[in-house]
């Protein structure tokens, strides 16, 4: 297992290398002078020269790449062209809200969706099943921002249970943190609940037709044990896959949610950077996103081996 982990982490190195190369070239191979792009339309020649020097654009391409990677490895992601702050610091400030929302969303989605899916499969063909499936169609078809605004209208404006928007760090106490994160989490988890419930139901229905489920029933154990111990564990692999890829896709959902609830997270940071053509920030965000994808994939694969003894690498 440890050997496998080491191999997988090593295998991720070339992947990240390719991503880094792509990110590097993104800026260098754009038509025209990168410094001019970075500086914007109304830049003075001195500013242009300063940017050129700071990016090392006067060096050969390969030297530029090595210098850049070397900086990367030392945690230096460059400086924002807009705010002049180190990119690392900017991300560091913004990362907590985004990670909080992403994690709480996925946790809430799994807690709600898996039981829903199991029950729908167990009561296959009954009104419970149809109700869960109807809910899931709704979850798929209503966009995140609509859900968000509806939740704000009901719980923040009409009922006044929670603040309308904003974010408070968990270091300022759990209460303020929780009451501000609950609505974005609910809004964003809607579609994931739909997705995961649907997948769980389908996987469970497959497994419930298997011979070993019949064997389990023939043993005379109760239905809850049949469902949990025999069916769900076998249905877990496809469900985990969906949860994993869902988590990776969350990043785009986070962007919208952060806008709706006015939360200063990395989603907002990315959008602002793209609009302002703040290339160092964009580069850093692409790298970060790919890193998340690679790590999530690794975690999914590890989860497979834990869930299914037949899967060995």
């Amino acid at each position: 297992m440890l050997g496998y982990l080491i191999r997988r982490v090593l295998a991720a190195v070339p992947v990240m290398g390719v991503v880094a190369l792509f990110v590097f070239l993104l800026l260098r191979l754009t038509p025209g002078d990168p410094a001019a792009i970075l500086a914007g339309d109304n830049a003075t020649p001195e500013r242009l020269e300063r940017i050129r020097a700071s990016l090392g654009l006067n060096e050969p391409l390969i030297v530029q790449f090595i210098t850049w990677v070397n900086k990367l490895l030392h945690g230096d992601l460059g400086t924002s062209l807009i705010s002049n702050l180190p990119v690392m610091k900017m991300i560091g400030q913004r990362v907590e809200p985004s990670i909080s929302i992403a994690l709480s969303t996925i946790v809430l989605a799994v807690i709600v969706a898996v039981p829903l899916g199991v029950i729908a499969a167990w009561k296959h063909g009954t009104w419970i099943d149809r109700f869960v499936m109807g809910l899931s169609v709704l979850g798929f078809s209503v966009p995140v921002f609509v859900v968000g605004y509806v939740l704000i209208e009901i719980f923040a404006i009409d009922l006044r249970w929670v603040p309308v928007q904003g974010f408070r760090s968990i270091s300022n106490g759990f209460g303020p943190f929780f009451e501000r994160i609950i609505l974005p989490t609910c809004a964003l988890s809607f579609i994931y609940i739909a997705l995961i419930a649907r997948m769980t139901r389908a996987a469970m229905l497959d497994v419930l037709g298997e011979d070993y489920v019949r064997t389990a029933r023939a043993k005379g154990i109760n239905e809850v044990a049949v469902m949990m111990r025999h069916a769900l564990r076998n249905a877990a692999v496809p469900v985990i896959t969906v949860i994993g890829t869902g988590f990776a896709l969350l990043i785009s959902g986070v962007v919208v949610t952060e806008s709706v609830f006015n939360i200063p997270g990395i989603g907002r940071l990315t959008v602002d950077a793209v609009l302002a053509r703040d290339y160092p920030v964009i580069q850093a965000m692409i790298l970060l996103t790919s890193l998340i994808y690679v790590v999530v994939n690794l975690l999914i694969d590890v989860a497979y081996t834990l869930l299914d003894p037949r899967i060995r690498y």
Binding site: K219, G220, R229, R310
Partner: protein, 549 residues
């Protein structure tokens, strides 16, 4: 008189909850006593499995419903029992083992824990006592290294070992009734023999009543005390084993027994001087598993197999699962590429020529697969399926369809079947269609890969007859792959016995199957169930020998 354990009385099981649903089981009555084995025999669709699932209360809810009659287990009515009571009865009073040991165990739970679950659900024993009891039971089913197997996952165990685990799980609480639903059908003959012996020994030790469901008359002859023959949800005939095998009173039973192919090889045909159409020369197939890092694994699926087949003859390749017989067939047809060695088809070497150069030779060798339910495209009409090959070789569509009609008649189906779809035919009919499809290209060699293994005996007999007739008429050579020695004895001129990818023994069928030289061939023949019975003549083989001598 021993105690009555299972008493099924006038049971009716219907489709759906509506009162007008068709009856799947139509008024059957059977009894099984302590220490007795009742074999429930019948062809597919006869309702034998439904009967057993009804007894266990395991029918799929809402689709099949018992509507009349009663099932009494040691005097207690099962049909009206609550779900809770049924759960209590299962494993303690009645237990069941299933056909597919490969899928009957949960793949993600160690087998020891799966047995343990029975004890946890039905007893108050502590962990230590439970484990002791499980290990003891595992030893009773003759598993080796019980401690290691206890902690193993199912995929680490062989089919035979898994079935032993299933038996251990079923008998650990000493139920009064054991239902065995085709427990050896998926196993190799040598393993089958061991499992049958095991079930009988355990039954003797524990006094269990056994309801044994099978389609195989050979197995019946091995294990039954009494036999109940089922057909289309009705009971045709019941009686003691000897009576049913010797003097079946019903026409259906007689036909069923008469269809069982004899292990005694048919009269050998004369040697021919016909040209050799197919030759395999030191054919090998090695599967290499590549690893991303580290060393790969090699599996030798076929090891230097040499065989020859003359025009108008049938060569059988027999062996157990994993012997490499199908690999050889697929290499010969070039569905997979052999690693080394040669294949000469009608004098032309085809083992290593490119796919493109191979194309004109493909039509000379055609294959019929095992499962007629999956080998025909369900969305294409039968006629188009048959005509596809000739059309690929440049025959005009109307001509190819005309030929398809002729071929369907040749295999005993109506010509107008061309416009129908595969699902409109039974298994036997589909296999006829598959044969017609193979014949459409006028091949020199027909490869039948377990082509009759999925069929009921009566249908199997008809398809074997058809192959024989086609061979006589067209002079085609047949390469017949089978695990069933009875079938091999009835259709092959020569046989090749394979084990672990190697040819163990080869020669004329009459010679190899009656006077085997190699220990493995002897073991195979010895394990063939019901080898002492000559079913078609309603007498033991020994009596037949006495009568003709």
């Amino acid at each position: 008189m021993t105690k009555l354990v299972l008493d099924i009385n006038n049971l009716v099981v219907s489709v759906g909850k509506k009162p007008k649903g068709a009856n799947i089981i139509d008024g059957i009555s059977i009894q099984v006593r302590e220490r007795e084995t009742l074999c429930l025999v019948g062809e597919s669709g006869s309702g034998k499995s439904v009967t057993s699932l009804t007894t266990m209360g395991l029918l799929p809810k809402g689709t099949l419903v018992p509507t009349r009659g009663s099932i009494k287990l040691v005097g207690e009515e099962v049909l009206t029992a609550t779900d809770r009571r049924l759960r209590q009865l299962r494993a303690t009073q009645m237990a069941m083992i299933f056909q597919e040991p490969m899928t009957a165990l949960n793949p993600v739970v160690p087998v020891g824990r799966q047995i343990d679950e029975v004890l946890r659900a039905h007893t108050d024993l502590d962990a230590k006592a439970r484990k002791k009891r499980i290990l003891d039971m595992m030893e009773q089913v003759r598993l080796p290294q019980v401690e290691r197997i206890f902690a193993s996952y199912p995929h680490r165990l062989s089919g035979g070992q898994r079935q032993r685990i299933m038996i251990a799980m079923a008998l650990v609480l000493e139920p009064k009734l054991l239902i065995a639903d085709e427990p050896t059908t998926a196993l190799d003959v040598t393993t089958q023999k061991q499992i049958l012996t095991l079930i009988r020994d355990l039954q003797r030790d524990h006094g269990t009543a056994v309801l044994f469901i099978t389609h195989d008359m050979g197995v019946v002859a091995e294990i039954a005390d009494r036999v109940a023959v089922m057909r289309q949800g009705r009971l045709v005939e019941t009686g003691p084993l000897e009576t049913v095998l010797r003097n079946p009173t019903m026409e259906y039973t007689r036909n069923l027994l008469a269809s069982v192919p004899s292990l005694v090889p048919r009269q050998p045909r004369e040697e021919t001087r016909e040209p050799i159409v197919l030759e395999a020369n030191e054919l090998s197939k090695i599967y290499k598993e590549r690893a991303f890092f580290g060393k790969g694994r090699e599996v030798v699926a076929a090891d230097k197999v040499t065989l020859t087949l003359r025009k108008g003859r049938t060569l059988g390749i027999v062996g157990e699962s994993g012997s490499g017989k199908s690999t050889v067939a697929r290499c010969i047809v070039r569905l997979i590429d052999p690693t080394s060695g040669g294949v000469r088809l009608a004098g032309r070497e085809i083992a290593d020529i490119s796919r493109r150069l191979l194309q004109p030779h493909r039509q000379k060798i055609q294959i019929v697969f095992q499962d007629p339910y999956r080998s025909l495209n369900p969305r294409v009409t039968v006629g188009e399926s048959i005509a596809e090959g000739p059309i690929n070789y440049g025959v005009a569509h109307p001509d190819a369809m005309k030929r398809a009609r002729e071929l369907l008649e040749l295999v005993g189906l109506p010509a107008d079947a061309v416009s129908r779809y595969p699902h409109q035919f039974s298994g036997g009919q589909r296999q006829r269609i598959a044969i017609a499809r193979a014949l459409a290209l006028d091949p020199d060699v027909l490869v039948a890969d377990e082509a009759v293994s999925a069929l009921d005996v009566s249908v199997q007999a008809q398809v074997l007859e058809l192959l024989d007739e086609i061979q006589k008429r067209l002079g085609i050579a047949i390469l017949f792959i089978t695990h069933d020695l009875r079938v091999a004895a009835q259709i092959c001129d020569e046989v090749v016995v394979m084990q672990h990818g190697r040819v163990v023994e080869q020669g004329p069928a009459a010679e190899v199957l009656t006077h085997p030289k190699e220990a493995y061939t002897k073991a195979l023949l010895d394990a063939a169930p019901g080898r002492n019975w000559d079913f078609a003549n309603f007498r033991p083989v020994a009596e037949g020998v006495g009568a003709t001598a």
